[in-house]
Amino acid sequence: MHKRISAVGRIKINTVGASTMFEVGDSRQMMPLNYTIAVQREKSIYIQSEFNFFDYQIFARPLLQPVVDEPLRMTRTNVSPNIVVQDINVFITSSSSIAHIGSSEELTAQSRIKHIRHLLREEPTKSS
């Protein structure tokens, strides 16, 4: 595949967070993966190792990749060899995200989020 040249005038990233990449230049393969258990509790009580990834099915179930079986012949003509961006401003990158200047071959991204709300009150009885 004939790739174009990425020309960026100025880029500013305020924070490159945990497990994130800022890549300048071409790459071949990217596989970002993010597993999250997000807990919102009525009172701010924090207990270490309270939630376990193994206890939730969402982190174990296989996600089906879409199968492309259509015969596709793709031709591309690059009239201009450049992709120009004059100014980029990113405030924060986090949780396995990627900021990439340059071309790549393959991107397979995966995200699994378990969101839990915990309300601290008596459970309503079935009779009422």
Binding site: M1, K3, R4, S6, V8, T20, D26, P32, L33, N34, I45, I47, Q48, E50, Y56, I58, L63, Q65, P66, E70, L72, R73, M74, T75, R76, T77, S80, I83, V85, Q86, D87, I88, N89, V90, F91, I92, S94, S95, S96, S97, I98, A99, H100, S103, E105, E106, L107, T108, A109, Q110, S111, R112, I113, H115, I116, R117, L120, R121, E122, E123
Partner: protein, 57 residues
């Protein structure tokens, strides 16, 4: 299927991103294949109602 793409001049003035998160990708360039998988489970499917705080030693 025959798929013809003609890439003309591409000039962008300014890109402003506040928050790039959870396996998201921002790419300036060409790419051959992109495959995205996402699973999300949120209330009311998962809601805990109760006065007890789970005790973990």
């Amino acid at each position: 299927m025959d798929f013809n793409v003609i890439n003309g001049d591409l000039v962008i003035g300014k890109i402003d991103i506040t928050y790039l998160s959870t396996s998201s990708t921002f790419l300036v360039g060409d790419i051959r294949a992109v495959s995205l998988l996402s699973a999300y489970d949120t209330p009311p499917e998962k809601m805990i109602v109760g006065v007890t705080i789970p005790f973990i030693e």
